[in-house]
Symmetry: C2
Subunit: 347 residues, 2 copies
DNA sequence: CCGTAATGAGATAGCGCTTTCCCGTATGGT
DNA sequence: ACCATACGGGAAAGCGCTATCTCATTACGG
């Protein structure tokens, strides 16, 4: 492949210096004209600078600005898995809000590995982002938790801002997802629909989100006289849901009326497992999930779940982090049970 | 909310200078110890520096490094919509590959607005990213296309690298998605299955991806004696698919056996529309899509589609961009027809 | 033993910006 | 007419780094 492509000589990008020279003004004046400064600049000069910048196709070097100003326009976002709709919806919210604030988002994926998460936080800290948003799911008792906290503390004491998306983030700001209450409300509604005998497909013990949802669900059942007869703990993913459900079926469903999956992607996987086992979800065994990702409207039957306004969560996480002093709404995010056909009224 | 939180005084992050002082060596030696340099450093000094860095919790300022080195470790990624699984899968691939190369990804969403896209490219250029990956869908004849191309040319002539994900990207590098061939192959297979009368739900004319897929599908049909009887062009989204299908049904399906949606999210929306109209997808009217996003395995019936290895596409886009000189595989990405139950054999 | 070549630490000149600080000039109050 | 005061442009001092250049020290061949 010979390089007979376009003969574009590699030229360095125009610097502010070039612009100033072209406009016949000083560096200072050029700088002041191109970014609002407190100082006024003669309109004629300003126009000259603007014209020169346009002519040279000048684009300010953000790194240089960051160094000079001592502050960046970056927000760093950490999620477990970008392709997971739970996280990608949230990320979309963060990006949208960041855009409004003219901030740039850098994104990284922990792949659910807390070691990696810690590394990423360290690396990302090098960017000196204004904000760091951690949406990757926390684990109880992880050996890296302390190190992570220390790292974030250091980041904060350097003027950075941290926001978690979670239910409890130690002493950091957090968008509270009321997993417990949501799951509890769901359980009550299911009891109302006539269900009594349940199983749960959830994540490994220690994943806080999973634990809380399970605890809430259990509490709701107990209050209403239902029983949680079985629990399986596969991966916290679609395939995990499929496997968990398959296991449940193989071991015999005997009498279980409804399976609660700790999140929607698992629920969707579980529904496929049910169907692949020759049963019909909703009819032979009901299914409920958590999150209300877009997909669940389109599976059959549509999935009963607990709605979290994920995009809004992303937006709020950023606002919360940016907020100067507690002026921002930090009530738990409103969750809502959405009953659909995967949990028909019984009897 | 009073601030009786932790009494963390806001301190500036440790600089390399601090580390050098702490270690009792020069700035140069500290720099050389902390990042490989061509020069060797006395092991004892090196250890001292490392210890000092650890003690001060030093994290190199990436902006400063970028300014000093004249090069960054950033890759900028532009997608249409982060929450759309088509893009989020791709993004996951880019991020993963970037991680391998120890690069940081900044992400922005065009929201399918070419004006915004242009703006974003300009802003992102300020970052001086090593690579810019454009995955947002291109439109034919968009008034902004020339400006975008000029902007990207400028970026390239400054040493930046550009990669598109698309079928034709002018003179830029691109991961080729063979939309046409994929759709054509799909059409042939559907003909083989006994289908003859088709409708298409696709995006607005001018969206290149949509156009190509439609053209390919049409070609495949013609070769096999099928007819494309109707075309609707709603939004290129899930809801668009739903609306388009609803419209088709309201106008009367009369004889249409299969609906081809130009992408999977639309197909999934279409299936819901079919069901909401009281019909059964696959049975009353078959449906096929394009992309093979994860969801389509879990809808009922599972969707026939054309598989694109989206994550791989993301990874390849980055490698392609990074690649120094055409050493990288730039054959079109392998697409593959995946027949599932949404298109049962006829007759 | 001396001269020369490696060796490697430190001083320093940038990188592309922002932001003080310094001044010359215009303004206005008395 | 005179001095205090804005006003606003330009010079220059950084910001936190890297990389070049200097220069003392060590090693070694003849």
């Amino acid at each position: 492949m010979t390089d007979d492509a376009v003969e574009t000589r590699r030229t360095a990008p125009a610097t502010l210096h070039d612009v100033a020279r072209e406009a016949g003004v000083s560096l200072a004046t050029a700088s002041r004209s191109l970014n609002g400064s407190t100082r006024k600049v003669n309109e004629e000069y300003r126009q000259r600078v603007l014209a020169a910048a346009a002519k040279l196709d000048y684009s300010p070097n953000l790194s240089a600005q960051a160094v000079a100003r001592g502050t960046t326009t970056t927000v760093a976002l950490l999620v477990a898995d970008i392709a997971d709709p739970y996280f990608s919806q949230m990320a979309a919210g963060v990006v949208r809000e960041a855009d409004r604030e003219r901030l740039i988002v850098t994104m990284a994926a922990t792949e659910r590995d807390t070691e990696r998460e810690l590394d990423l936080v360290r690396t990302l800290r090098g960017q000196r982002p204004r904000v760091m948003i951690l949406a990757a799911s926390r684990r109880e008792d992880d050996p890296n938790n302390d190190a992570l906290e220390a790292e974030l503390r250091a980041f904060e004491s350097n003027g950075g801002r941290v926001a978690f998306v979670s239910s409890a983030a130690g002493a950091f700001r957090a968008v509270q997802l009321d997993n417990r209450a949501g799951a509890e409300a769901l359980a009550r509604e299911l009891i109302d629909l006539g269900y009594r005998r349940f199983a749960a497909v959830t994540g490994a013990e220690g994943i806080r989100t999973a634990d809380e949802r399970l605890a809430g669900f259990r509490a709701g059942l107990e209050a209403g006289g239902g029983t949680l007869e079985r629990i399986v703990r596969p991966d916290f993913t679609r395939d995990g849901g499929y496997e968990g459900m398959t296991q449940l079926i193989e071991e015999g469903l005997d009498g279980i009326e409804l399976v609660f999956a700790a999140n929607d992607v698992m629920a969707v996987g579980a529904m496929s497992a049910i169907r692949d086992a020759g049963l019909t979800p909703g009819t032979d065994v009901a299914v409920a999930g958590f999150d209300d990702i877009p997909t669940v409207r389109d599976v059959t039957p549509p999935l009963t779940t607990v709605r979290i306004p994920l995009e809004e969560v992303g937006r709020r996480a950023l606002r919360l982090a940016l907020d100067e002093d507690g002026a921002v709404d930090d009530a738990p995010v409103h969750t809502e049970v959405v009953l659909r056909d995967s949990t028909p009224r019984r009897g």
